[in-house]
């Protein structure tokens, strides 16, 4: 029998070396996340998976599971932090859901609904981020980027290319493309790469695909609408 930890009152068994996230997801328990992927190394960037382990706040995707740990995940105060983190991601970029092909199948949008985001909460930064349409098959629209680094890791770890990297610091942090011109069209990215499909938001999208799945039939439409959240100061 393998060891187990307690996730919101439910025992979750784990293998040696597992993170809390890996063990929970394998067992079919959801811990909120945007930057974690089972096939890639952990990051710890989005912080949505912040849980309380034996009374201490930490990210589930970077914390090793230990026998007997008591992990608090979906408590009201932790979800309130998650709501604020999602708001921070929204105000940082330019997220216009109605005009985005990813709408209805977007992890950021899902998180917004899941944690009761009713408005930006803070002033939008409205950064200036030009769209890169140089690649024949792939759009790169960093207006929608949440800096989860999934594309960076997918390109390096699975595609074996290193097309994407992170540059800058602080609020000027941004995704870089490895090519002489800095344009995606001059990079090694192929449409079949994992990095071209892993974006949880609409920052990296295949070209010539619009409304392939009509609004009303997208993944989010199949789920029951969440209840209206309590009105807040937003």
């Amino acid at each position: 029998m393998s060891d187990s930890f307690d996730l919101d009152g439910v025992p979750v068994s784990f293998e040696p070396g597992d993170t809390l996230m890996a063990a929970a997801e394998r067992a079919g328990h959801a811990i909120p996340h945007l930057c974690w992927h089972p096939a890639l190394g952990q990051s710890g960037a989005c912080r949505l998976c912040t849980v309380r382990v034996d009374g201490r706040l930490t990210s589930a995707c970077t914390t090793r599971a230990g026998a007997g740990q008591v992990v608090e995940c979906r408590s009201a105060d932790l979800d309130a932090r998650r709501r604020m983190l999602v708001q921070l991601m929204f105000v940082e970029g330019n997220h216009f859901c109605p005009g985005c092909e990813k709408s209805g199948d977007c992890r950021l949008q899902d998180a917004g609904y899941a944690f009761g985001v009713t408005g930006p909460g803070f002033e939008e930064f409205y950064p200036h981020r030009p769209v890169d349409a140089s690649h024949p098959d792939i759009w790169l629209d960093l207006n929608r980027c949440i800096l989860c680094k999934l594309c960076v890791r997918a390109s390096r770890e699975v595609d074996g290319k290193g097309v994407f990297a992170i540059g800058g610091h602080g609020v000027h942090t941004h995704v870089l493309v490895d090519s002489a011109t800095g344009l995606l069209g001059d990079s090694e990215l192929a449409a079949s790469d994992l990095a071209a499909h892993i974006c949880p938001v609409g920052a990296i999208l295949p070209k010539r695909r619009g409304f392939a799945v009509p609004v009303g039939a997208r993944p989010a439409d199949a789920r029951e609408a969440p209840p209206d959240p309590e009105p807040s100061h937003e």
């Binding site: 710890g44 983190l85 949440i146 800096l147 602080g170």
Partner: protein
Amino acid sequence: VTVAEVLAEAGAARTQAVQVGGPSGVCLAAHEFGRRIAFDDVPTAGAFMVFDETRDMFEVARGFSHFFAHESCGFCTPCRVGTELVRRRFDKLAQGHGSPFDQAELQALEDLLHGTTHCGLGASATNPLRDTLVRFPQAYASRVSSPHFVPGFDLDAELASARRVTGRDDRGAHLDQHG
């Protein structure tokens, strides 16, 4: 050794506050100068900043907020965006557009950054905010100009381009600022 002893050795006079351990450290007010520089009480890596009574502790905290917004590496969401929002909120208060709403927002960001950031820089980035809010509330209160929310921009000034286009500058083309 107590903070007061360090101040006496240094010849500091009329000291209002001491920042021990750099911007991420602890800010102490005069009534706490009996505390000891020690791992168990006031830990320090050697930094010891002294602010006398002529210094505005709000401006001190605002300076630190700029420092941390610049220092954030941008890796994790709460620090990357949170330090920038704290900086902007401090600047808004400094420009005289402050309200209790802004102060509550600073407090909410403070709560978020303690615990959700990837590393210690983010976790301690709002320490100056936290410490000065508790110890020098009057420095913040003087920045709160209205009990109601005040936008961070001048609504009437934003209409300047529309006035230019229409060639108008009469009273009707301006917002009634007291209405």
